[in-house]
């Protein structure tokens, strides 16, 4: 028998504390769409996606209604397009991106991920062709997201690719300058990219995955923050327990939704991603959780420790609540998508250096950070190299999604709208890494990659 207290707690989490399912993402393999003819390839891509995911949005909406829990996004991820477009020219890859965009519009989803390449050890001709048109593909489509994996702990860091990524980000900013360089918000550079991540912009359907799979990303920073507030001035052991219990409950909802979606869609269940994903809405901030723990402002000394505790407790609580956990699983710290982070940057409490340190102990990396539009490409490559090194050395996923907003400088604020939020331009170190980035080649894998 369910008791009244439990019912009220659940309802309160949903209505007052912004508990939601951030995304149901269907991963679809496009390996069977391979064709020498680019038009035929694009038709097959469109047909496979729109056929396989035809009920995704409806099923998402039904589950949302029946369980009373908001499901914010319904999305699709596909096999990295460079793998199925081995014979495509750069123009052919743009056509493929447009086919993905058309499929997304037909389905009524809000993002489709997988326009990307895995080049951690080196790039094929197809990889290079795809990468060369990422800025155009992002500018000429609405819903396509792109990611490139440039490093793994096993392979080391492909610094040629890192150098290219700096130029790619700059050109994506230029080509979408009329929309605050929003192209960059749909592009992520990864180290140790997971093959089953349901969150955008970095979602793609890995080659080790089945033909189709459903994964769910949970959310709920507001729920954790409120639980900590109710816990009062307890010590750290008790604090970790509070977070674990809350994460367990949040993840159980994710598991329920994932299970139902899998059953109704007739597609296997993949994973639940245990991430605390903030939104710009009040009461939905990871920074506010850290502040609730006792920091005056996120970014103060102690922030990294607080985030490490949070990230670890979320995983410990969540892992028992789901049969399969995967993806990124941890706390996200995007700047523009988190009201507390935005305010911390505005107050001068949170620098890019502190954000970089924080990424060593939580999921993902430097995310949705707006930088000076005049930042040179090699500085962006160096930011990427630093962040990717943290991932490679610590055997974890890290990523970079920075936006050198065209024509914007420190002191300006850039507004992307919706879930992408807004952010002040953050100040960077002024000294040049130019000669370092120009060396090219690969940074060897760390010694602890030799585990066999």
């Amino acid at each position: 028998m369910i008791n009244t207290k439990d019912i009220l707690e659940t309802i309160n989490m949903i209505r007052e504390e912004n508990l939601d399912i951030r995304t149901i993402t269907m991963g679809i393999s496009l390996l069977d769409c391979v064709s020498e003819d680019e038009n035929r390839l694009c038709d097959k891509i469109y047909d496979k996606i729109t056929h396989t995911a035809e009920n995704l949005v409806k099923v998402g909406c039904d589950i949302e209604k029946e369980y009373g829990v908001p499901i914010v996004n319904k999305r699709v991820s596909v096999t990295p397009i460079s793998l199925i477009g081995g014979a495509l020219s750069p123009d052919g890859f743009i056509k493929a991106a447009k086919a993905l965009d058309r499929a997304a519009k037909t389905l009524g989803i809000n993002f489709i991920g997988g326009f990307g390449a895995l080049v951690h050890k080196g790039a094929t001709k197809a990889d290079n062709n795809l990468i060369s048109v990422i800025p155009e593909a992002l500018a000429e489509t609405d819903f396509v997201c792109s990611s490139v994996n440039v490093a793994t702990t096993k392979a080391g860091i492909n610094m040629d690719a890192v150098a290219e990524m700096g130029r790619t980000v700059k050109r994506a900013a230029l080509l979408t300058k009329d929309k605050n360089s929003i192209g960059c918000a749909k592009f992520v550079v990864f180290a140790n990219v997971p093959e089953d991540n349901p969150f955008m912009a970095g979602a793609f359907h890995g080659v080790g995955e089945p033909d189709a799979v459903v994964s769910v990303g949970v959310s709920g920073p507001g729920v954790v923050s409120s639980a900590i507030a109710r816990g009062g001035d307890c010590d750290f052991s008790h604090l970790a327990d509070i977070i674990k219990k809350t994460a367990f409950k949040i993840t159980r909802v994710g598991q329920l939704v994932a299970f139902e979606a899998s059953r109704r869609l007739g597609v296997p269940f993949g994973i639940v991603d245990l991430s605390l994903a903030p939104t710009p809405a009040i009461g939905d901030s990871v920074a506010h959780i850290l502040e609730e723990m006792g920091l005056e402002v996120c970014g103060a000394h102690g922030t990294t420790a607080a985030l490490a505790l949070l990230n670890d407790a979320v995983k410990k609580g969540g892992v028992m609540a789901s049969s399969h956990v995967g993806g990124l699983s941890g706390a996200f710290i995007p700047v523009s998508e988190d009201a507390g982070m935005i305010s911390a940057v505005e107050r001068g409490a949170l620098s890019i250096e502190k954000l970089e340190a924080m990424t060593a102990v939580c999921s993902v990396g430097l995310d949705m950070i707006v930088i000076d539009g005049d930042t040179p490409a090699d500085v962006i490559s160096a930011i990427i190299a630093d962040e990717i090194s943290i991932g490679v050395a610590n055997t974890k996923t890290t990523a970079v999604r920075v936006i050198p907003a065209y024509g914007k400088h420190p002191g300006d604020v850039v507004d992307f709208g919706g879930l992408l939020g807004y952010a002040p331009v953050i100040k960077l170190n002024e000294y040049s890494p130019s000669k370092f980035i120009a060396r090219g080649g690969r940074i060897p894998a760390p010694i602890h990659s030799l585990k066999n």
């Binding site: 009244t4 019912i7 707690e9 659940t10 309802i11 369980y67 009373g68 909802v253």
Partner: protein
């Protein structure tokens, strides 16, 4: 299977009657009910068996929402599974 219906709003005559009549019209069987009135505010929670609904559960949720809109009440209908999974191991 059961659903939990919560009803909140300003207290007026006949709220329980309205909601329970609608439920039974649609084939829902009320198995438990608790209600309280704090000053002028009314709050009720009902546990309803939904195995013999005359429509799909999704349509039942729509109907209850419509009743809420018509009578100026906040009515939410949720499948019991969400409470069970969240609070029971």
């Amino acid at each position: 299977m059961k659903a939990v219906i919560t009803v909140t709003g300003k207290d007026t005559t006949g709220i329980i009657a309205k909601v329970s009549t609608k439920c039974s019209e649609l084939g829902g069987n009320i198995v438990d009910i608790s209600q309280s009135v704090m000053r002028e505010y009314f709050a009720m929670m009902m546990l309803v068996e939904i195995d013999n609904l005359t429509m799909s559960f999704s349509e039942f949720v729509d109907e209850m929402n419509r009743l809420g809109d018509e009578s100026g009440l906040d009515i939410h209908t949720m499948h019991e599974d969400i409470f069970n999974t969240m609070h029971k191991i």
